[in-house]
């Protein structure tokens, strides 16, 4: 069994990065995730594993540093929160276009604009549909506990290199700031070799070029076709989700991250009242567990998408259940930094699905 610790989600991310053999971290302070950079600065990973930690002059610089280290074939991470992630959109599009691996963590706070520093889930669209320009996708992981904050970092690096694609960990101020128990995985040594596509000095091979530019549109279309196929492959192979009381469910909550852990309690409350409510928690937001939801749809009377937002993931739930037009799919969520309680989710659920029936 790994080392047990009581840790903040943010700290777990930082410690996991060191343990996952991350080569470099570049970041810029922003609440509610500054503990990640602070933990890394204090942990002195340069001594522990040789990992580089550098505070950049901005998020813009940070994501382009990530681009650089990734282009050199290294395991690299950055973290920020909503406004800072918006500043990275050009860089993320470049990484996707140049097919570079890398881990980006968004500890979401309430937007739009400067908004509030309280937790939110309103960056779902940006994360899953591509906030930057062009046809690209990030692989998006949504941890729901401090444990997963740690585990997903390792998973994210693996997936990033498997697909040569940036992986986004979409979490929020609630999970970032809370402490709970975490079992840390054993450290993985930093890689001593560099991938053969990396721009790291061309010793013994033709020169490598990392770029997302193709002046010729047909060339560029070919590249885009390759990306399209890659995203399809992710959809085929990388869907991850968890179900809870779904076998006999008449109703389903779909919720990720913080909303999922809160909704789990709602399920208990509902079951106590004799309502057969289940929970499906997407762990990957892209690829989205559409098929799993569709499989359940036949048995369901209704689905509630619970998100701390105006309702974004609900569109993916609607798309997933297109074959069931009679199935009501609704959204409930507090937003703008307010976190819903299990009880109010239940109330909303009853109002939407039970009282009206």
């Amino acid at each position: 069994m790994g080392e047990i610790q009581l840790m903040k989600g943010n700290e777990a991310i930082a410690e996991a990065a060191i343990r996952a053999g991350c080569d470099a971290y570049f970041g810029y302070p922003i609440t509610p995730q500054s503990e990640i950079l602070e933990y890394l600065a204090a942990a002195n990973p340069e001594k522990r594993t040789g990992m580089i930690v550098l505070q950049a002059e901005s998020e813009l610089a940070a994501i382009n540093m990530v681009y650089g280290a990734a282009a050199a074939g290294k395991k690299v991470m950055t973290t920020s929160s909503s406004p800072g992630i918006s500043l990275m959109q050009e860089g993320l599009s470049y990484m996707a276009g140049a097919q570079l691996p890398g881990v980006i963590v968004n500890v979401v706070r309430g937007g739009p604009g400067l908004g509030t520093i309280q937790p939110s889930q309103s960056d779902y669209f940006q994360s899953t549909k591509g906030g930057g320009h062009g046809d690209y996708r990030l692989l998006v992981l949504a941890p729901a506990s401090v444990q997963e904050m740690s585990d997903h970092v390792k998973l994210a690096f693996d997936l990033a290199f498997k697909y040569r694609n940036p992986v986004l960990i979409l979490t929020d101020g609630l999970i970032g700031q809370m402490m709970e128990k975490v079992e840390l995985f054993d450290p993985v040594p930093r890689s001593k070799t560099l991938p053969d596509w990396a721009a790291c000095g061309k010793k013994g091979r033709p020169h490598n070029i990392i770029t997302s530019l193709h002046l010729d549109a047909y060339e560029h279309e070919k590249m885009n076709q390759k990306l399209k196929e890659k995203y399809a492959l992710m959809q085929k192979n990388e869907v991850r989700y968890e179900t809870y009381y779904c076998e006999d469910a008449d109703y389903l909550i779909v919720a990720y991250g913080a909303s999922a852990r809160i909704s789990q309690k709602t399920v208990t409350l509902a079951r106590n009242r004799g309502i057969k409510l289940g929970l499906l928690r997407p762990i990957t937001l892209f690829p989205f567990p559409s098929e799993a939801i569709a499989r359940l749809a036949a048995q369901l009377n209704g689905i509630l998408s619970v998100e701390m937002s105006h309702g974004q993931m609900v569109e993916d739930v609607l798309l997933a259940t297109r074959q069931y037009p009679a199935l009501r799919v609704e959204h409930f969520g507090r937003f703008g930094g307010v976190v819903h309680t299990p009880e109010e989710i239940l109330e909303a659920f009853i109002k939407l699905f039970i009282q009206l029936n």
Partner: protein
């Protein structure tokens, strides 16, 4: 002019660097970018570091420089080359890392990245081609555009009251202690080319000593953007550009020259 008796391997005194690919350069006829590109290849070849060097390409007319010099390259986003270079050098400290940037790239959109990489004293070489204009996008005003100079976005001439005077970013970064060698050169005459080559050699060599940024500005023509013939453009450059951007070393061995 038949000279087959001269054209023998043992008489060869100049040919282009073997690091140059067969791909014809995409630059306009007479553009200084071509000379700079070739000089970089020559210097890397002479130093024998082709396997240990990583170039960071800009967005600007040199955007496809990676097709011309057969070394490993990373194409950066517009303005971010020094941020990219920072990371590459930090994760691969035993490699030679340099950026190749235009004046729009380095002194407009990339100002913050330029200044902070220089302030941190990253062990990189910055090669800065200042042609006083945005060449690639069709000749718009750059931060380095001269007063009164006409471009497509200041068709009546740059009005310093509205748009500010040309910025001398090289002098600005020279005062930072993170820069170790700062020089301003050109490539319009054989003598200038030879000097620039020396400067580049020095800049790359300095990377071994871990003393900070070596920064080579090269004042260059953009004859297309300036709407002049290459020969006229170089003349105009000597007359007008060198007044505002005088050639010569600015900082050597970490010390400002006065």
């Amino acid at each position: 002019m038949e000279s087959t008796d001269i054209i023998k391997p043992e008489n060869l005194v100049y040919k282009r660097s073997r690091l140059m690919t067969e791909q014809p350069l995409s630059y306009c006829p007479g553009c200084g970018h071509g000379t700079v590109t070739n000089l970089i290849a020559e210097v890397i070849e002479e130093l024998g570091i082709e396997s240990e060097v990583i170039g960071i390409a800009p967005v600007g007319c040199a955007v496809t420089v990676y097709d011309f010099i057969a070394i490993d390259w990373i194409g950066a986003a517009h303005g971010r080359a020094t941020a990219v270079a920072t990371a590459v050098k930090r994760v691969l400290p035993d490699r030679y890392v340099f950026t190749y940037q235009g004046d729009g790239d380095l002194a407009a959109i990339g100002t913050a990245e330029t200044i902070h990489a220089c302030n941190r004293g990253e062990n990189i070489t910055i090669i800065f081609v200042n042609n006083g204009i945005y060449g690639m996008t069709g000749g718009q005003m750059a931060p380095t555009t001269l007063e009164g100079m006409k471009t497509s976005t200041c068709p009546y001439g740059r009005d310093v009251n509205m748009q500010g005077p040309p910025i001398d970013i090289t002098r600005m970064i020279a005062v930072l202690s993170g820069t170790y060698y700062v020089t301003r050169q050109a490539v319009h005459t054989p003598a200038a080319v030879r000097k620039t080559k020396k400067a580049l050699l020095k800049a790359f060599e300095l990377q071994k000593t871990n003393k900070g940024v070596s920064f080579i500005e090269i004042v260059s023509n953009c004859n297309s953007g300036w709407k002049m013939s290459p020969v006229d453009a170089n003349r105009w450059m000597e007359e007008k550009m060198f007044k505002i951007y005088p050639l010569g070393d600015i900082k050597v061995d970490g010390k400002m020259l006065v």
